[in-house]
C-alpha cells in the first residue's frame, strides 16, 4: 500500500517536472512546478520526514513560487509569443537529460545508495525531525553538499545577472 502511494507520488513528481518544462505559458509552467514541489513534500511526509516535507512546501511552494508568479504577472504576456523554432542546442540538452536519466535509473536498480550513510537512517526514528536534521547537516558529512548547493545558487545568481544585463556598453 505504502509502496503504491510512493510510486504514484514519484510518478506525479516526474510528470509535473516534465509538464513544467513543456508548457508554453509561463504561468502554467509555474503551476506545474508548484505541483511538483507539493508532491515532493508528500514524498518526504510518507517517508516519516514530516518536518522536511512541510519545510519544502513552506519554502518552495509558499515563498519562492509566489515570487515567480508575482514576476510573471508583471510581465506583458501575449498569445503565441516566444520562440517558435527550436533552439540550436536542443539536441545536446536532450542527449544530456537522457544520459542523466539513465544514470539515475541505473543507480536505482543497482542500489548504489544502499551502502551509503543514508540507508542507516531508520525511518521510524523520524530522521526528518528538526533535531536529526540539524545534527546531520552540521556534523555527519551533510555540510559539504549543503555548502556546495550554496555555491551552485551563487553561480545561478551570477548567470542571471549576466543574462539580464544590457549589452550596450560592450
Amino acid at each position: 500500500m505504502q509502496l503504491a502511494i510512493e510510486m504514484l507520488t514519484a510518478f506525479m513528481i516526474v510528470f509535473s517536472a516534465v509538464a513544467t518544462v513543456s508548457r508554453r505559458n509561463p504561468l502554467y509552467a509555474a503551476l506545474w512546478l508548484i505541483n511538483c514541489f507539493l508532491f515532493t513534500g508528500v514524498l518526504y511526509v510518507i517517508q516519516e520526514a514530516v518536518f522536511l516535507g512541510f519545510l519544502q512546501v513552506l519554502t518552495y511552494a509558499g515563498a519562492i513560487l509566489v515570487l515567480i508568479i508575482f514576476s510573471i504577472m508583471l510581465m506583458d504576456l501575449r498569445d503565441n509569443e516566444g520562440p517558435k523554432e527550436r533552439s540550436a542546442g536542443i539536441q545536446i540538452v536532450a542527449l544530456g537529460s537522457v544520459l542523466v536519466s539513465i544514470f539515475l535509473l541505473s543507480c536505482f536498480f543497482l542500489r548504489t545508495f544502499e551502502s551509503s550513510s543514508y540507508a542507516d537512517l531508520d525511518p521510524k526514528t523520524k530522521w526528518g525531525g528538526l533535531q536529526h536534521l540539524g545534527q546531520f547537516l552540521y556534523s555527519e558529512g551533510g555540510l559539504f553538499p549543503f555548502e556546495f548547493i550554496t555555491v551552485l545558487l551563487l553561480g545561478t545568481l551570477v548567470g542571471c545577472v549576466q543574462l539580464a544585463k544590457r549589452k550596450e556598453w560592450s
Binding site: F54, V57, I69, F70, M73, G129
Partner: protein, 420 residues
C-alpha cells in the same frame, strides 16, 4: 519461523484498536468542521449588523428573527444566478481561483485544538455503558456485547492516563504545518485575479502576492518567538496543543500565562500580520474600491464571487482561532479548573464539565476576535501602498526580530537564575 510466532502472540495480547481511533477521529473532525461552518455561515450577517450598528443604520433585519436567515437568502440568490464566464478569461484558472481561496483556511483549522484533551478512558467507559444498555433491553446479542465489554476494558487498561487532542489532527509539526499551509493562501487570489485578464484584477493580484510575502516574514518570526517562550523542544516536536497547555499556568499566582500578557509586543505583531495575511482592512489592497473598483474579483460573478467572499470570511475565522490559540490561551479560562473542582458534585467527573465549557470558551473567544477584525475594518481607513510596505519591512520585521533576540535573552536569563 520464530519471529512469525512472536508476532502472533503479540497481536493476541494487544487487540487492534484502529477502528476506535478511526471512529473517534471522524467524530472530532465532524464536530470541529460543523462548528467552523456554523460560525462561518453567520459571519456575513454579523459583519453587516456590526457595520450597520457603527454607522447608525439597521442592517439586514427582515429575513427571520433579527435578520438571522439573511445568509440563507443570500446563498439561494447567489446559487440561482447565471454562471457567467466572460470570453476573454483563462477559463481553467478563472474557475480554479475561487475554489482555491477558502481551502488553506479550512485545512489550517484541523490543527487547532478547540477544547481540552479527551481521556481515552471516557471512550472505553462509553463502550461499556453502551454494551450494558443493549444488554438491558435485549438478550440476543449477549455474547457479542460481553466481547465488546472485554475489548473496552482492555482498551482502558492499555490507554491509562493517555488523552486524545481535540484538534482534528494533532500533528507533531503543527507549527511548521501552520506556516506551510498558511503561505499557500495567496494562490487562489493571485491566480483568480490573473486569469480574469483585467488590469484592475491583475493589479489586485500583484498587490496581494507582494503584501502576503512581505508580512509572512514578520509572522513567521513572531510565531518562532512564541514557540521559544512556550518550550525548548523546538519546532519539530511541539504540537499546537503544547502551546495551549503552556499558557494555562499563572504568573505570580494570579496572572494567566497567556502570550499576550507575557510578550505583548510579539502578540500585537502577530495580530497585525494576520490582518495583512487575511487581506482585511486596513490592508485590503487587493480589492481597494476607490483605486481598483473591486480589485481581484472584478470579473467574477454569482457563486464564484460568493466563493471569494466565503474564502475571505474563512481566512478571518481561522486567523481569529489561531490568534486565540497562540496568544489568548486557547480554550483556557483562568481559575476555571480550580472553581470546577470545588463546585461540581462528586458524582460527575469535573473534567467532563471542563471539557464542555472549554469548547464554549474557545468559540466565545474566537467570535470576540472576529468582532475585533470587524470593528477594525469599520474604524481604520486603508493605508497607502508605500505605507503598507514601510510598515511591513521597516517596522514589523525589525521589531519581530528584536523581540526574538530579547525573548531568547530573557529566557536564558530566567533559566540561568532558576526563576522560570
Amino acid at each position: 519461523m520464530h519471529n512469525l510466532l512472536a508476532n502472533v502472540t503479540e497481536t493476541a495480547t494487544t487487540p487492534d484498536y484502529s477502528i476506535v481511533y478511526g471512529v473517534l477521529g471522524a467524530v472530532i473532525v465532524l464536530h470541529n468542521f460543523s462548528i467552523f461552518m456554523l460560525i462561518l455561515t453567520w459571519l456575513s450577517w454579523l459583519e453587516r449588523r456590526v457595520c450597520a450598528w457603527i454607522q447608525d443604520r439597521s442592517g439586514p433585519n427582515r429575513v427571520g428573527p433579527a435578520g438571522l436567515l439573511q445568509p440563507v437568502a443570500d446563498a439561494i440568490k447567489l446559487m440561482q444566478k447565471e454562471d457567467l464566464i466572460p470570453h476573454h478569461v483563462e477559463k481553467f484558472l478563472y474557475i480554479l481561483g475561487p475554489a482555491l481561496v477558502a481551502l488553506p483556511a479550512l485545512i489550517l483549522f484541523v490543527v487547532i485544538p478547540i477544547g481540552t484533551d479527551i481521556p481515552y478512558e471516557w471512550i472505553g467507559n462509553l463502550m461499556i455503558w453502551g454494551a450494558d444498555g443493549v444488554n438491558y433491553f435485549t438478550d440476543s446479542f449477549a455474547v457479542n456485547m460481553t466481547e465488546l465489554q472485554d475489548f473496552a476494558r482492555q482498551f482502558n487498561l492499555d490507554h491509562a492516563g493517555q488523552t486524545r487532542s481535540m484538534a482534528a489532527a494533532d500533528l507533531p509539526v503543527g507549527l511548521a504545518f501552520l506556516l506551510a499551509i498558511g503561505s499557500l493562501g495567496v494562490y487562489g487570489l493571485a491566480l483568480g485575479a490573473w486569469s480574469a485578464n483585467n488590469k484592475y484584477a491583475t493589479m489586485g493580484g500583484v498587490r496581494a502576492s507582494a503584501q502576503m510575502i512581505s508580512y509572512e516574514l514578520a509572522l513567521g518570526v513572531a510565531i518562532l518567538t512564541l514557540i521559544l517562550m512556550c518550550g525548548t523542544s523546538g519546532l519539530s516536536d511541539m504540537t499546537i496543543g503544547d502551546i495551549v497547555s503552556a499558557q494555562q499556568g499563572y504568573l505570580g499566582g494570579w496572572l494567566p500565562k497567556w502570550n499576550i500578557i507575557l510578550n505583548p509586543i510579539t502578540a500585537i505583531i502577530l495580530i497585525i500580520c494576520y490582518f495583512a495575511e487575511t487581506n482585511r482592512l486596513p490592508f485590503d489592497f487587493a480589492e481597494a474600491e476607490p483605486e481598483l473598483i473591486a480589485g481581484y474579483h472584478i470579473e467574477h460573478s454569482g457563486m464564484k464571487f460568493a466563493l471569494f467572499m466565503i474564502g475571505e470570511s474563512a481566512a478571518m475565522l481561522t486567523a481569529s482561532a489561531l490568534i486565540v490559540t497562540l496568544c489568548f490561551g486557547g480554550w483556557g479560562l483562568p481559575f476555571l479548573e480550580d472553581i470546577l473542582k470545588v463546585v461540581v458534585p462528586e458524582i460527575i467527573d469535573y473534567r467532563l464539565v471542563l471539557f464542555l465549557a472549554s469548547i464554549g470558551i474557545f468559540m466565545t473567544k474566537t467570535i470576540a476576535m472576529v468582532m475585533v477584525f470587524i470593528l477594525v475594518r469599520w474604524s481604520i481607513p486603508r493605508f497607502r501602498y508605500d505605507q503598507l510596505m514601510n510598515l511591513g519591512w521597516k517596522r514589523l520585521l525589525p521589531a519581530a526580530l528584536a523581540m526574538l533576540v530579547i525573548t531568547v535573552f530573557v529566557k536564558e536569563l530566567f533559566t540561568y537564575f532558576g526563576a522560570h
